[in-house]
Amino acid sequence: MAANAFEGAAPRGAITQPPSSNEYLTDRGFRLLTVCGASLIILLVGYILWKIGGQALPAIYRYHLGFLISTNWNVADQNFGILPEIWGTLYSSILALVIGGFFGLTVAIFLTQDFLPLRLALVFRTIIEMLAAIPSVVFGLWGIFVVIPAIRPIANWLYDILGWIPFFGSSLSGPGLLPAALVLAIMILPTVAAISQDALNLVPYRTKEAAYGLGTTRWEAILKVMVPTAAGGIASAMVLGFGRALGETMALAMLIGNSNQISLSLFAPAQTLASLLASHFPEAGAIEVQALMYAALVLLAITLVVNMMGTAILTITQRRISGRS
């Protein structure tokens, strides 16, 4: 620790004085602590990667990359593969992103582009934010007792009439991909809406004034000026919403049916990486735990890449827009 550079710097009889050695040391110590705090975040991410990777290592040696394209999950034969889970994760998340993204963006436009008086917009924003506060299990419970009964007649009607289309190729007997994706869409809606709102709010007001000045209608101004200007932020909202959907666990474990199969049908039960972990981990034996760790590593890699992409897009576009205005 360096010595106090201010020692003896004060003239005699001064009202103020330089920090004493004690204060100087405290300062150094505290700063060091904050550096530790900041480093801890980086170490934590590294440790998570290292630890999950390390636990997955035996399974990686045993199954190699074939793990990713095998469709088996057979504990007795110790034969594991996660292709159905990867399929289910991507299928449900993309479906949720299409629905939740559309609703989220529309809500963001609705809240930022003067459709409502300010006070009412605030109330509405609170409603959407409260949606984010509802725990995942509660959405799962709600999905079981409200969403599934509500869409079952429609789903089975579609199956009767349009059953030859692969998307409607089975009946909805209870849990399935569609209810899971619908609830997932509701869960990512607040994320998409919040980040898109920030992006739209960042667009300088005069940009819109200029568009109106040219004689555009409200929606021409929104769709041809505001949304393209905020495109970077909206893109990151979609990517981060997608990342959230990929990792969402409990509601899916309760609604998707946990069935190890690949099907195009919206009404068939499926399985995602996260729900696989949730449903198999508590009762897994040593070998299965290794395979599950491998699955966790795959999920970690996918979500880290998606989230890093989203965060990077967001940081870059925010810097650009605020630099420009």
């Binding site: 920090p19 506060a133 725990p135 709600w142």
Partner: protein
């Protein structure tokens, strides 16, 4: 070209053109249709929240009584029962998470906001904290299973609490950083000019001034993890008994809801709804609290 010649053609037509949009015009009517569409979408988007709240109040409210707080979860065919142990377990694990993540989070935030916001370490930490906010909660469980449950040989409240702390940390860091950034430069410069060290400036000026904002972040973090269940599945597991020690499997409200939701007994389903109602109330109370605290900021 004179002004006269521009106006001339309209003169010939006899009257000035009507510059207002008529809604019969294709562009204007398209805009009108989209506006109606946006209203419908926004109203549909708010249906789920009200549906969830309605179900919670009707299904959960009907079962609300003091027994819920004092009794233990019922087995298979038993009637009655409650989930007092789960409420205790949830609160204890959230408290562990808060005690672990708040000091670390605020120290990190101090570094990010005050000590060297532009440094490489700070940008890396900030970026990773943002990435961690989207970290799948179940992976926090897997991580803590690997470091704690395997090492201790048992599921425990400690493991559950630590996995929640991993999820809470980024929220605390990012909101505390934002709060500290709003402290006016002049106040900090005044303190430094008086001969304060940076540490004194932070403790006497920045932290007290930013306190409401920091509290908002902390409470939001608590609200976020109180409802989490995925990380608890295989760190805290579940228990049908009262909490005796922090080193044994611990019940939590969210896992109770998950377990009971798939049971074929009406009694358990009712309890799951009642537990959901209480869990949502806890989360909402924290949310409202964070808003109230946040409003009193400078």
């Amino acid at each position: 070209m004179t002004e006269q010649s521009v106006i001339e053609p309209y003169r010939i037509a006899g009257s000035a053109p009507d510059l207002r949009k008529s809604w019969t015009e294709a562009r204007a009517s398209r805009s009108l249709i989209l506006t109606v569409g946006a209203w419908i979408v926004a109203l549909v988007a708010s249906v789920p929240l009200f549906s969830v709240l309605y179900m919670l109040i009707v299904q959960g409210g009907s079962r609300l009584s003091l027994d819920l707080l004092t009794e233990l979860p019922p087995a298979g065919f038993e009637l009655g029962g409650g989930f007092g142990n789960a409420i205790v377990g949830t609160l204890v694990m959230v408290a562990i998470a808060a005690v672990v993540s708040i000091p670390v989070g605020i120290l990190a935030a101090t570094y990010l906001a005050e000590l060297s916001p532009e440094s490489k370490l700070a940008s890396a930490a900030r970026f990773l904290a943002k990435v961690l906010t989207g970290f799948p909660s179940i992976l926090a469980g897997v991580f803590v299973y690997a470091i704690l449950v395997l090492a201790m040989g048992t599921y425990s409240a400690w493991a559950g609490g630590i996995s929640l702390a991993v999820l809470m940390l980024p929220t605390v860091v990012l909101t505390a950083e934002e709060a500290m950034k709003t402290v006016p430069r002049r106040m900090k410069d005044a303190a430094l000019g008086m001969g304060c060290t940076r540490t004194q400036m932070i403790w006497k000026i920045v932290l007290p001034t930013a306190l409401p904002g920091i509290l908002t972040g902390v409470i939001l973090g608590v609200a976020r993890v109180a409802g989490e269940s995925a990380p608890l599945l295989f760190t805290a597991l579940f228990s049908n008994y009262w909490l005796h020690s922090l080193s044994e499997p611990t019940a939590s409200l969210s896992i109770l809801i998950y377990n009971f939701s798939s049971m074929p007994f009406d009694n358990q389903i009712e309890l799951a709804w009642a537990a959901s109602l209480i869990l949502v109330l806890i989360v909402l109370v924290f949310n409202v609290l964070s808003r109230v605290v946040g409003r009193s900021r400078i």
